[in-house]
């Protein structure tokens, strides 16, 4: 049974539709990336899942049931804007949030040092939050989100503001929780992260769901319309092939955008006519490209 089922969700603020008929399901051990530009409706969707605001239409089901107080302890939530009590110690801060999720104080005290170590937090449990660096404070908040081993984890832009080392630690942390069977839904603007950790992808544009599926499914929807080729042929000759939409020179090769993946064969024929070729790769567009493509449609 899915941990979370979102069906036909609609939310309007006045005349503006923030979330427009959104559907998805999330199973145990799955990670769903919710992407979209700022104001696309990601946070509103999270807030409806968390029961902070009521949808105008649609249903949200937790393990097949409507949301009740019984689910509070099975949930981990990291809001987009981070907040901690500056005067509290690391231990007290984590304890407060974890106790609110039903953990026993003794268990929390025993586990905190292990979690600090796991996320390489440069702080002692007795340090005050206000004395921590921004990155370490973010990791404390993340620990407070995960320490009670929730079944559903909601992370609103968790990678925002983290350096590459901490991004990698967080990614590992998410994958660990996934291996434990947690279902994770998170939002992000960095498509590399999305591609590396997500099993599923939902893209919102002005509240509407414009993409939904696994990362591979989403990419395959667009066909193999990208060709990366290292050739000595002049660009004009490649551009003359019907169906080559655009040629973008890169450091060592060229990136060709095709109108249709069948055009790739014509390109291959031309570039291999002279024999050996160090690189020829025909791929679907990256998530980054798909994101820009879909988000760009917004402005057309």
């Amino acid at each position: 049974m899915p941990v979370l089922m979102v069906h036909d969700l609609v939310k309007k603020f006045g005349t503006m539709t923030a979330v427009d008929h959104v559907d998805f399901t999330l199973n145990p051990g799955e990670i769903l990336g919710l992407i979209g530009q700022n104001g696309a409706g990601k946070t509103t969707t999270f807030r409806m899942i968390l029961n902070f605001i009521e949808p105008d239409q649609g249903q949200i089901r937790w393990q097949g049931q409507p949301f009740t107080q019984a689910q509070y302890n099975q949930l981990g939530y990291l809001p987009e804007e981070r907040g901690l009590f500056p005067k509290m110690t690391v231990m007290d801060q984590i304890s407060y949030f974890a106790e609110l999720r039903g953990m026993k104080r003794a268990t929390i005290r025993a586990e905190v040092p292990r979690w600090l170590d796991r996320f390489a937090v440069k702080a002692k449990p007795t340090d005050k939050i206000r004395d921590l660096s921004k990155g370490n404070a973010q990791k404390i908040q993340l620990i407070a989100t995960l320490i009670h081993h929730p079944k559903l984890i909601i992370l609103d832009e968790p990678f925002s503001g983290l350096d590459p080392v901490n991004v990698s630690l967080l990614r590992e942390g998410m994958l660990d929780m996934k291996r434990e069977g947690a279902a994770i839904i998170y939002s992000d603007h960095n498509m590399t992260n999305v591609e590396q950790v997500s099993d599923q992808l939902v893209m919102l544009r002005q509240g509407e769901m414009v993409l939904n599926g696994t990362v591979d499914q989403v990419r395959q929807q667009f066909g193999r319309i990208k060709v990366y080729v290292e050739t000595t042929l002049p660009q004009e000759q490649l551009a003359a092939i019907p169906g080559v939409v655009r040629i973008t020179p890169r450091r060592h090769d060229l990136e060709l955008t095709l109108a249709d993946e069948a055009v790739g064969r014509e390109v291959f024929k031309l570039v291999t006519a002279q024999g050996y070729l160090p690189e020829f790769s025909q791929q679907p567009p990256t998530l980054e490209e798909i994101f820009k493509l879909k988000a760009g449609a917004d402005h057309e």
């Binding site: 807030r47 968390l50 902070f52 605001i53 009521e54 105008d56 107080q69 509070y72 302890n73 949930l75 939530y77 809001p79 987009e80 804007e81 981070r82 907040g83 901690l84 009590f85 005067k87 509290m88 407060y96 949030f97 106790e99 609110l100 999720r101 104080r105 407070a144 989100t145 909601i154």
Partner: protein, 430 residues
Amino acid sequence: MSKFRIVFRQVYLKNLKSGTYIWMVLAPLVFLLIGGVITIGIVKTQQPVNVALVTPQAELAPLVASLPKKNDAYQRATKITTEAQAKQALSRSKLDGYAVLTSQNNQMKVSYVSRASGQGLPFSTLDAQFNQLSLQYQAERLQLSGAALQTLLAPIKTTQTTVAFNDQGKAEKRDNNQQVVNTIVATAVSVLMMMFIMMYAGMIASEVAAEKGTRIMEIVLSSINVNTQFIGKIVAILALIMTQLGVYVVLGLVGKPLVTHYLFQAFPAVKSMLSNFKLPGLAAGQLVLTGLFLIVGIMTYTVLAAMLGSLVSTVEQAQQAITPLSMVAVLAYILGIMAGNGVNNPLIKVTAFVPLLSPILAPARVSAEAMSVSAGWLSLLISVVVLVLLYYVSLIFYRANVLVYSDSNLWQSWRASWRILTNRQRQSRP
């Protein structure tokens, strides 16, 4: 541990350890201590007014010499007997002033000279003494007997009795200075009530606004029901009030023997002075009433402040959010001071029963003995009923506001939360 207890403990301990709370508890004691130290300091360092009483006429010298050398008002420099000596002593700041007594055509005349930088001369005392001298002088001149003089000078006999009426309508005698004591107590009650109400209201509004502004509220409300969180906060504030009152009770119990044993022994005058006054309330339970008004008053303002704090998005806006509430408290404070000063018009009488105003006004009026204790209990009952209603209204608005972020002003935020409420009601209808 229940989630209510977790929120309660967090809010209680966080504020208990805060500088604001510690100051709030200590402030009245510090002010009391400072006031006491200043009073003792003034009393100890106060020098008597040094005066010289002289006369150039030898026949008047025995009369001048008969005047007291020292009394409560002044100390005479008896070695100075001439105006020239007095002038010299005045220029050397050894005197605060002097009086020259002369007589012309059997009429006595007194000229006072005082130093601008010296202490003021006790003119009324000196005038009274010179009047007495003049009468003596005239009686001797007119050869009146001592008995005739006594009869002539005998003042009219007056008695003064001030009474206050208790709950049974029975008159109780009060010292003539009781009105002054009542005013002081009523003013102190108004000032303390106002101070505590504003501090607790500010505390809860800042607490809510800070949690909302830092998004801690989102994490908390994804773990706990908003009703539980609200009541956890309010009960924690109630516990802080009880702790504060408890501190005063303990200090009072510890301090009482210290005062009676040491202070009264060191300053017997204080003991006799205090025994003349009846502190209103100590005998008839007004103290309990005042304590309950303090709790109910603070709680009423606290639940409203929590609601107002939930309207804003940052801690910086919290004080602005509770401005309307502060204005009501200031109004109650002004009326309380007026009531303490004996103003007893219909407006004051009626507002002593109006919730939000009554927690300050009613105890002040009871302290000033302008309102009976039973009327005070009725006013308290009205306040309790309104507190319960306001708790539920505040909770409804708190639930609507607490996760709504807006940069608009307070009025627009209020309207937005009203819209959310009405939308919810519409959605919940079948």
